[in-house]
Symmetry: C2
Subunit: 335 residues, 2 copies
DNA sequence: ATGAAAGCGCTAACAT
DNA sequence: ATGTTAGCGCTTTCAT
């Protein structure tokens, strides 16, 4: 591989001159500049960023760690992060924690060893979470989608407490009374919040909440709703008249399970969820949702990280972006 | 930041002993191993992969460059690549060329300078494409989705020529005769192939093909179909009775444009596309498509790259994965 | 089983 | 405006 000294020899200058060609060309005489340029082009030289970052102590690289790469919500966030990162000349490592502490930790150690300048993380829930690793190494970190107690970090997330509340209030206003909450990973702050908003609204209406938690994915939605229907058919419990799914993947699973059991939406049961479907909702606007500005969450997270690079001591910020209720057919009784 | 010599001092050994602790622990005496382990834990030491890769000449890092990160097809590919990469202990850089040669080139140079061990690329079309940069530096490269003439590289792609043919044959069998092809970036091999399959089938049926090309995205589908309808309304051209969209984003745009103009699908016009929708098709299986195994394309691409790391001289492979026709309501005349 | 010396490719700091 | 020296944190090679 061509190195800086190959170029220096080829151009008949010192390595520092070649280094300056890339880092501060204005310091070179016009003639020298041209000679170096020629040598660089002829040899097809690309500087070794590895060597540069070893000495500079920074890599112009950041890592994005999401919980589930299949989830449209995180994909939109990734787009937001990537757009801002690319504009600021940062390259992006993308990793998937699969909502698992062990995987998350392994991934974080990998990117720390690669000396990323910062991390944007949707933290997995658990007793001993992995933030300690990042804090100990002093890696600038921005949390997305999820708060974490005990860590004074920048956070960007949607206001899903309000989301849970207004979604429930909408269902109440439509006349639903037995409203159940389904899916989501217990303990994760985004779930705690939206569940909390739901419970608050139910309490305000003098109604009892009921929830079935699990995970944040489609399979969980299918399983929980399938079990719920089976229990009702055995006469063990009543079927609710409305369902709030913890996110859109859970909503999808729930809708499929209900369809399989011949329960019509919204005629027999209303269904609502969190996060919108980008394509399905354009093709057939059916599901009522609380929409979070996912792309914006990604953008703001990266912007916050850049700002922290500039000033490590600035006070941390928690940006809670507003959500939006989008009412569609799935929660409307009358046609 | 803690370095290897900090650990060495703390443990009372040489730096080489600490290095061996990480790279070949069997060479250490049990007692020495424990002392190093203690020092590593106490100091929270994580080896600097940057320094290691400088000397080793490899980084255990690969780059995935896709044309459009909004496209579900590329997202599924990314998942496949990531799953195999993670299992093989590689970290993934993710980049977006926006179907632009300049962006692609800039991104490739960035990751080359970071000394990625390999690149998986959906190459942007253009006269002077950027593969030369990779070849000159000897970076192992696997192409996805798109062939490139003049470059003897591993390729993994779907058999979209056959896809174009069977999709057209399906429409012909349903009785459609005036079938138009819409969208897609001219010159890109995936488009050339699916358009070729369409034209072959039309010719075999003794029918004239008609196509309107543009880009591979939703906006292009909307614009082209909007213009087509406007021209028909001005009496400048007839409306086709069936439409083949170059991919699913184009199909989405086409469907929205048709809806806006009050043209019903499939009653007034049939619509079919390439690539399936993951969520929309589960919620409401409407659009007839040729489905490509996107996740598998990603997996195989990464596997091919790993194999090339092991043996740089093995002959290149072109893996053409079979596609599948999924017939749904959008191309069925009778209810 | 452990260590000392050299150097990967580059840049910061100091010459000239 | 250009060059020299030292060293970033690690591993390779060659001792012991």
């Amino acid at each position: 591989m061509t190195t800086i000294s190959d170029v220096a020899v080829h151009a008949g200058v010192s390595v520092m001159t070649v280094s300056r060609y890339f880092n501060d060309p204005t310091k070179l005489a016009a003639a020298t500049f041209e000679r170096v340029k020629l040598a660089v082009d002829e040899l097809g030289y690309v500087p070794n960023a590895t060597a540069r970052s070893l000495i500079r102590g920074r890599s112009d690289t950041i890592a994005l760690v999401v919980a589930d790469i299949r989830h449209p919500f995180f994909i939109a966030i990734a787009r937001g992060v990537e757009d801002v990162a690319q504009a600021a000349k940062y390259v992006l490592f993308l990793g998937n924690s699969h909502e698992t502490l062990a995987r998350e930790r392994q991934y974080l150690e990998t990117v720390i060893s690669r000396r990323v300048d910062g991390v944007i993380l949707a933290p997995t829930h658990g007793k001993r979470h992995n933030l300690e690793v990042l804090r100990q190494r002093g890696v600038p970190t921005v949390l997305i989608d999820r708060r974490l107690p005990d860590y004074d970090l920048d956070v960007v997330r949607g206001d899903t407490f309000t989301g849970g509340r207004i979604l429930t209030e909408h269902l109440l206003a439509e006349g639903y009374r037995d409203i159940a909450f389904v899916g989501g990973t217990p303990g994760v702050s985004s779930l705690v919040d939206r569940l909390g908003g739901y419970e608050r609204a139910m309490a305000a209406a003098g109604l009892a909440p009921r929830s079935m938690l699990g995970r944040y994915d489609q399979a969980s939605g299918e399983k929980l709703v399938g079990a719920m229907v089976a229990a009702a058919r055995r006469g063990e419990a009543s079927l609710p008249d409305a369902l709030i799914a913890a996110n859109n993947m859970v909503a999808l699973g729930a809708l499929l399970a209900l369809r399989r059991h011949g329960i019509r939406v919204p005629e027999d049961m209303a269904v609502a969820g969190f996060d919108d479907f980008d394509i399905a909702s354009q093709l057939d606007p059916f599901l009522t949702v609380v929409r979070q500005p996912a792309y914006e969450i990604g953008r703001e997270a990266m912007q916050l990280l850049l700002r922290r690079f500039e000033d490590a001591d600035r006070p941390t910020e928690e940006r809670v972006l507003p959500v939006e209720l989008v009412v569609r057919r799935s929660t409307r009784r009358a046609p």
